[in-house]
Symmetry: C2
């Protein structure tokens, strides 16, 4: 593996990651590389499996861009244990490529917990980051809401919520083009006095900071676009995004009940089905192409297990954009201002 | 006010509570009483205001059923302070009627926090209940999901989650007719090992209890009907139900975008609008008619500020059903088994 040009971005992709690996991972990654000459792609996994998939597709890659990894961490395996037990797994190898500066980014649709743990332990945290964070981009009214943390953390401390706000703010600005992103603290009331122990303390830290903090926001404000960035503990964020993911199924169920009651409604709902499906698409995780783990020393993008080829391609493109925007460097420079002892 | 027959239910209604008080509160309450001869209705508030509304409607009430209260607690007032500062407010008077056994239930669409505080402090907690709880009935697929706590608590302790499960279970059985309700603990993963400090400890208490505990459930399981009763801390529950309430608005927005892109989709969406509105109705808070505060010594039903006449009527009917089912007595008898020192 050669040190590539500065304009290039060396992206390692976990060929074994995801429910449809190696097929979707390999073909999606090759598609991204074919469309963007600045992407220097490396596929990490079992060479023979990877080559079989490559030969079935239309794009190729040279042998020195296939990084052999004998093992695979399964979707159900315990993150911490599997990282230790499988040092030659594609996830551990990929994270090491970034650590050893042989790759600029690592992308995987494999075991989410293992990917978070490997990225955090192997790449290491940026100094000043207590907890790395993953965010979701919510399809809010009038804008995207960058929502942190959605599952990398639990039992966060107030300082961690401040860190999520700093990192989310940089992401919204650099990747979303949002100037001076507004930041809301997710709570159970708008007034400063409303909240639990965690948010009451986090409120003070955010208020004292130089961030564009607009105060508490409520559950309804996530989708109505009240703030560019909304922060909360990962336990809550995780529950919220999973709740959100289940909405299309409930809606389908409610429409079915309405259709059963009235034949004319049944016809109308049938006609509008396609339009409804299109409208709900933006609630679909996969469309966005994975979520970056912010706060580690390198670019780490984690995709949904059921990622399609297109989703993998989007993940690789996102890794490229993060590299082009020097996101890790910008977080490093900014977060140091907020370190408390 | 006479001690009524056992079959009767004396329900006090806050005539001054809600954004459209006294009109909606008075007319809705009178409608409920007119439809059910077992309801012995008392209206609490400014007599002259109440009489003015009564004279505009079709139902009447005798003067001894109007309980004068000079003051009104505004929707924005601080709960704890307003209870102290306004001892002659309709909310404080109503809660006292229950305490003094002059009424079996109190219903208000006024200041939610003041109503919770007044009910808890004046009626008092049932022995063994650390924190009273309010629940939401989620329109899940295939069943109603009784979801506790949605805002009466924050920073709950493990024992409190157990209490919510006990009370929610009784409510689901007695009011929803669910035999041996299944109970899920809201967490960020299904495995017993997944969760935050609170849920890991609550898991043990629930597992050791004789409740029908089915383990952890995730955010997506609230709407998919995985458990009859789901428990969590009120900070999270409050954020979830407010998030849920905002879904129809987001959906409307997403459909508008789809309609803008294609004329044929616009026509189809236009045709299906009525059916869509009907389907989303079950997500609407008001349809259900208020939420009871469980765990206090009496029946206390809290309605949405924007309650319609119909919503108030539903609240009164619900108070009646809770009384008929001896719900407070059943919670008192059951919760004593779970007291820990």
């Amino acid at each position: 593996m050669n040190q590539s040009e500065h304009t290039n971005c060396r992206i390692a992709v976990d060929a074994m990651g995801g429910d449809f690996a190696p097929r979707n991972a390999v073909l999606g990654a090759l598609m991204a590389a074919a469309e963007n000459k600045n992407i220097d792609l490396y596929l990490v996994g079992r060479t023979s499996d990877i080559k079989k998939i490559i030969s079935s597709g239309e794009f190729n890659i040279t042998d020195d861009h296939i990084i052999q990894a004998d093992e695979v961490i399964g979707m159900g395996e315990s993150p911490a244990n599997s990282i230790k037990a499988k040092p030659d797994s594609s996830i551990v190898r990929g994270a090491n490529l970034v650590k050893e500066k042989k790759a600029d980014a690592f992308v995987s649709a494999g075991n989410t917990g293992a990917m978070m743990t490997a990225s955090t332990l192997i790449m290491g945290r940026i100094p000043g980051v207590g907890r790395p964070t993953i965010g979701a981009e919510m399809p809010s009214i009038g804008r995207i809401c960058y929502f942190y943390d959605v599952g990398a953390s639990k039992d966060s401390k107030p300082q961690h919520l401040l860190e999520y706000a700093v990192m989310g703010s940089i992401f919204a600005k650099e990747m979303g083009g949002v100037e001076n992103p507004s930041i809301g603290l997710l709570s159970m009331g708008e007034e400063e006095s409303k909240g639990n122990e965690l948010t009451l303390a986090a409120y003070k830290l955010l208020k004292e900071s130089d961030l564009n903090f607009i105060g508490n926001v409520e559950g309804r404000d996530i989708l109505t676009g009240k703030a560019d960035v909304i922060v909360c503990d990962g336990f809550i964020g995780n529950i919220i995004i999973k709740f959100g993911e289940s909405i299309p199924a409930l809606l389908k169920h409610l429409l079915k009940i309405t259709a059963k009651k009235s034949f004319s409604d049944k016809i109308k709902i049938g006609l509008a089905q396609g339009a409804l499906r299109k409208s709900l698409k933006s609630l679909d995780y996969q469309e966005h192409g994975g979520v970056p783990l912010l706060g580690v020393n390198g670019i780490s993008i984690i995709g949904h297990g059921s990622s399609t080829e297109k989703a993998i391609k989007n993940m690789v493109n996102r890794a490229y954009e993060m590299h082009r925007n020097n996101l890790v460097e910008k977080i490093r420079n900014s977060i140091s201002k907020y370190i408390r002892n």
